[in-house]
Symmetry: C2
Subunit: 724 residues, 2 copies
């Protein structure tokens, strides 16, 4: 069994040449076993030879500007849409890059690119025949003839991306002033061959490196910038595949799939293909196609790394697209480790849930003056210690349920100078992490026997995450649910609508569907499939609890807008029932949950109505239903108008899980902490009760389990580990 020294190991420190003394001092203080470089820092021989494991960051597709300049057709590309622009006469000229950041894009006007360009009349949504438009290289604009005056027109075209987006972001946010980096596209054989050679020579040149840390692979998440400084962010989606396109890839796709994609498959009336919306079949094919390419070529590079006796870890970040840790071929790459930067508990689970790799978390704050949300971290006005703890509350919750192997930091180590409380906080946190790791190694936490499924369009592929960090997706109730689930004592599967038809649902005691009508999380037209509805209905009748949040199972064209209304006992009226009387109800707080439902502050929907006299409304706000239950056969439907991560939200979800457990197994035998701002997790093999504080204020609670009860005081953000 692994030895657990609470002061040492399982930690990756960012070193910094020029600050050798500081590097080795903090490595010692924090008990690092690995030192890494970061984007913008390097390690000096003094550090490399100090006896630590060495992670070396490689960003595969950038830092090759010299080669790229000689092979400009190997730069990465994207479809862009210029317009829509209104025609005022029969002729219209559209400047292709007018609305875009010209430092990011360059029109690809090669014949093989232009074969994919499309001009649309966006008023009729009809394509304008090629004969009616021409491209003027001089002005970079398309001239359309035979327009219908006052219709709108757009041009979809291929553009090279001439500034790697993360480099572009860092220049802007952190005032960098270096050469603009470009990214090459390994889809082009000469680029792939170049990268193979480069990988090999890199390994030769870095004998001290024990782990090559791929940051990350080839294709960045989409990030399209605009021309106007006040309106730079035109489009950004962590999970979208817009930046994987090229004439070559499109041609190969056509050969393989027997049909051709066109610009409109990506442009989609200017809406692009948002991860939060159900994908088209064409998009699904494209994603699978890119996934196979990315994992295939990554496998080659990892093979080279392995040849040199080094390990290959991947930092699951910016250029992750196509890698898909929950995709079918991720395992084929052969990565030894997966490193995830985390703010939240769901990101811990996202990392920890990928099998057969070493799991490492890159904590926040990053050692940068300014954080991802644009606020100061290691800069005047910043409080990195408090920031660390704020994230740690979320991360620890998840770690208490499922642990990872390592933690790490990143950035400019010298920025920590003068932030002694930060240094002490990290020290405390690392000791706590090693203790949690020990508790898991000894047997892990007591869990409910119940199993939960979160049902959405993407299923397993988007386990835990939606598209990016919490602060990028906070408007979706599901990310709040995932975050709450990440620290609850229950196993969770993420299942798709196909899974509903394929797997034995009886293993789930609770199935969650949370989203807004038409989005990927609610499911949109997937609910038009009656077999999905029938199987879930039968499952609920047999004892399952269906939890619907927001606009669950909503689609058009059926008796109820919520297809699962017969189970949920509520439905949504978008106007087609405005002349129907709505059943009056009386709010009857459920005694079991009253303590925290009283404090829920979620808004109800004015259009929600009861479909059944037996639906009980436990919570309403301003006369609108927030929380209801409807008995259905041996099971029931629970409706929540919204969900947000909060002590009350977590308590409510825990109560529902316990209700599910009780229905299936007759009783629940789990520790209870009386104060919703705290949580108790029990480790039977270690006889240890972890009681954690979910808030930045001191809390007091009474924990009950196994016939014992104990009053416990908790300092802000603290967790106590008590023999039990």
């Amino acid at each position: 069994m692994e030895e657990f020294d609470l002061n040492r190991g399982s930690f990756t420190l960012p070193g910094e040449a020029g600050y050798e003394e500081l590097t080795l001092h903090l490595a010692e203080k924090w008990g690092a076993d690995v030192i890494r470089d970061s984007d913008g820092t390097s390690l000096s021989p003094e550090i490399l030879q100090a006896g630590y494991g060495i992670y070396s960051t490689v960003c595969v597709i950038r830092d090759h500007n010299a080669w790229i300049r000689e092979h400009p057709t190997c730069r990465q590309q994207s479809f862009l849409m210029a317009g829509p622009v209104t025609a005022e006469s029969e002729e219209l000229r559209i400047d292709l890059l007018e609305q875009f950041f010209r430092e990011q894009f360059e029109v690809n006007d090669s014949p093989e690119s232009m074969a994919y360009w499309q001009v649309f009349d966006r008023t009729t949504e009809e394509e304008v025949p090629v004969e009616q438009w021409s491209y003027d290289r001089e002005t970079g604009s398309v001239c359309i003839k035979g327009c219908t005056p006052w219709h709108q027109y757009s041009v979809s075209f291929l553009a090279y991306r001439i500034w790697e987006e993360i480099s572009m972001y860092n220049h802007t946010t952190n005032s960098w002033d270096k050469e603009h980096l470009m990214q090459l596209d390994p889809r082009y054989p000469e680029a792939a061959e170049y990268l193979r050679r480069w990988m090999r020579s890199w390994c030769e040149a870095h004998p001290q490196t024990t782990v090559v840390r791929f940051t990350s692979l080839f294709y960045n998440f989409v990030w399209i910038w605009g021309a106007e400084e006040i309106f730079r962010n035109l489009y950004t989606d962590w999970g979208s595949y817009d930046f994987t396109v090229s004439p070559l890839a499109l041609r190969l796709f056509e050969q393989e799939y027997g049909y051709a994609l066109c610009a409109e498959d990506f442009i989609h009336q200017g809406k692009l293909q948002v991860t939060h919306m159900p994908p088209t079949d064409h998009k699904k094919d494209w994603m699978a196609f890119v996934h196979r390419f990315v994992t295939g070529f990554a496998h080659e590079l990892v093979g080279i790394v392995h040849e040199f006796g080094k390990k290959a870890y991947v930092f699951y970040d910016d250029s992750w697209v196509g890698m898909e840790p929950y995709g079918r071929h991720f395992k084929d790459i052969g990565f030894d480790g997966l490193i995830k930067c985390v703010f939240s508990g769901f990101e811990v689970r996202l990392c920890a849930g990928v099998p057969n790799v070493t799991h490492e978390l890159r904590l926040h704050p990053y050692l940068f003056p300014v954080g991802l949300e644009g606020k100061p971290s290691f800069a005047p006005g910043g409080d990195p210690a408090a920031e660390t703890l704020r994230y740690w509350i979320h991360i620890r919750r998840a770690l208490l349920q499922q642990c990872v192997d390592r933690l790490g930091l990143g950035g400019y180590l010298h920025l920590t100078i003068g932030f002694d409380d930060f240094n002490d906080t990290i020290w405390d946190m690392l000791r706590e992490f090693r203790l949690i790791k020990k508790l898991h190694a000894e047997g892990g936490p007591l869990k409910l026997r119940s199993r939960v499924a979160v049902l959405h369009t993407w299923g397993r592929l988007r386990s835990w995450t939606l598209s990016g960090h919490f602060h990028e997706t906070y408007r979706h109730a599901l990310i709040h649910l995932n975050e709450a689930l990440s620290g609850l004592p229950v196993d969770v599967d993420f299942i798709s609508f196909d899974d509903v038809k394929r797997v034995d649902l009886s293993k789930y005691q609770l199935i969650i569907n949370a989203g807004r009508e038409g989005d990927a999380w609610s499911g949109g037209s997937a609910w038009q499939d009656t077999e999905v509805v029938s199987r879930l209905t039968a499952w609920a009748a047999e004892g399952g609890i269906l939890l619907g949040v927001g606009e669950p199972s909503a689609t058009e064209g059926y008796t109820y807008r919520f297809r699962m209304a017969p189970v949920l006992g509520v439905d949504l009226d978008r106007g087609e029932r405005i002349c129907h009387g709505k059943r009056p109800f009386t709010e009857k707080p459920d005694d079991r949950m009253k303590a925290f439902t009283d404090r829920l502050d979620w808004e109800g929907k004015p259009e929600l109505y009861l479909t059944d006299a037996s639906t009980e409304v436990y919570k309403a706000k301003d006369g609108r239903i927030v929380f209801s239950e409807h008995p259905f056969g041996k099971g029931c439907g629970i409706y929540l108008s919204d969900f947000s991560w909060s002590p009350e939200g977590i308590s409510l979800l825990r109560a529902l899980l316990q209700e599910a457990e009780c229905r299936r197994f007759g009783k629940v035998d789990m520790p209870e902490s009386g104060n919703p701002c705290t949580e108790a997790v029990y480790y039977p093999a270690s006889h240890c009760m972890a009681v954690s504080n979910l808030t930045e204020q001191a809390q007091r609670t009474v924990v009950r389990y196994g016939g014992k009860s104990k009053e416990i005081e908790l300092k802000p953000s603290d967790c106590r580990y008590i023999e039990w």
Copy 2:
């Protein structure tokens, strides 16, 4: 020219047998020229012979219980849907009337009725074959075999309506205790023949009657009551045709149209066919079919009345369905007058806009203990004088623009005893009405030269109204707009999407589209017609102002959800653009409108975003756009997130009208009243300025017109008529 005695004429008084002295006293005081009976009152010979015109109320289809009992198949019917009910096994029994008020309905289980019954699996939305279900007369239930357990099933069936709905309502609201009246269906030849005879003998028996007041025709608006006392109102829609159905009518329809309607055409998955939603083509055919029958048979009855030298007026109320004053065949009936009960200005215009009839308004409050909204009128706690003035503010606004011929009251005259202030208020009001009528006769008000179109699915057929009174439809922005328009100095047309393609739009300076996505007022799938979009876009480019309110022109499947976004400069994101950056904006109050936009309190929509840099946001609330303008060619698009009847709302609309006038005609020459709580209307031929107070508080304003300005004080609810 008509003589105008401000104290006499143009007024219909409700008389009451047993209160002859009161009747004649009030007839004298109020200057009545006509005395009428009401539902529940009669006129004695003393009243009939006092020298007044006599209106006699006839309710054609009720008060024939004896005949109906002998001809029960001639009772009126409706489709109803029992369920949906969840099947727990393969067999399911559904009690047809379980959820309905059994005093209102009786199952019609005749073979010709049952031929139209349909059983549906509402989970799959598939019809269950007739072989799988049977009707059990004993229990009044349908037994379905071969069900899929946990699917939901419904039975659509025909029911006789056995209690005329207005009689049912009056029993309940006003504690009547009389025999339940039934209504006969003149579609059945024996019922029609009976009614012809009855009409003739009625005329013979009422020699003193000068005007037969039809209350109203044959088919009531739909009003379905439920079994539970706390949940009586299952469905009510003033404009829907559910109560016009019968096996005979369905058969005749099939013969005429060459296709058969089925129960589902009416039941529509239990949603029924709400007036607020766009109708199906089948529903449109059915409405036309019923309209032709109703107007045809009404023409016969009116012919009989005319034979007796009497006039025939119709009270456009409860049993109005199929009559359609704005329908193609209304004029064919030959009514001499149209009487409309009114709370609001839009109802005045609705009445006044029907050509070639005498127009009379039946004022509120009705002389009843309790009003339509369920509050006391002529009862303790009631203040009928204040109530009268509250409605009068709205009614007068409209009358100042377009007058009617007569006013009237209805109900139990004796209830006025003790309400002297009411009696005085009516006296004042009648004098004012006669003055307004005089101003119109002398030439009428000064109006804008501009013309406005309100664009929705129903077009002219639903001119001014949506479906019922204001308090029944207040959740729709359009009724607030119609109410505001009813008192503004402009001509208004209500046009359909077909009209957009057919008529010359250049006659309109302002076109309004106001509703929520998918409803009849916004237009729903009508916006999928590109010709509609193109024509409106071209019209705006040529100088038109498009006013979009709420979710104007919203439909799915196009670049923008608002099809008119290119003109409006704003669009709605329902999630498909959640990853798109949204253009930031700064609120820039428009100087011209600042005074009242500051006070607008409408909510913005979180999903609304600017599509164009040139869109100006004049008003936002909590960062959400409430009021914006987007230049487009020579015209523009105005967006309002909502609209409610208020002094500020009216002022805003007036300002937009003046803007439209100015764009077209270069200048506006209209009176202005500086205080938005007041309005000034000028009568050039009479040299009279009417300055009215829109509130129940005293107001002061400065009116400017024709180089003159004058400060004016107004008492609460008052209007002053000033020589100018």
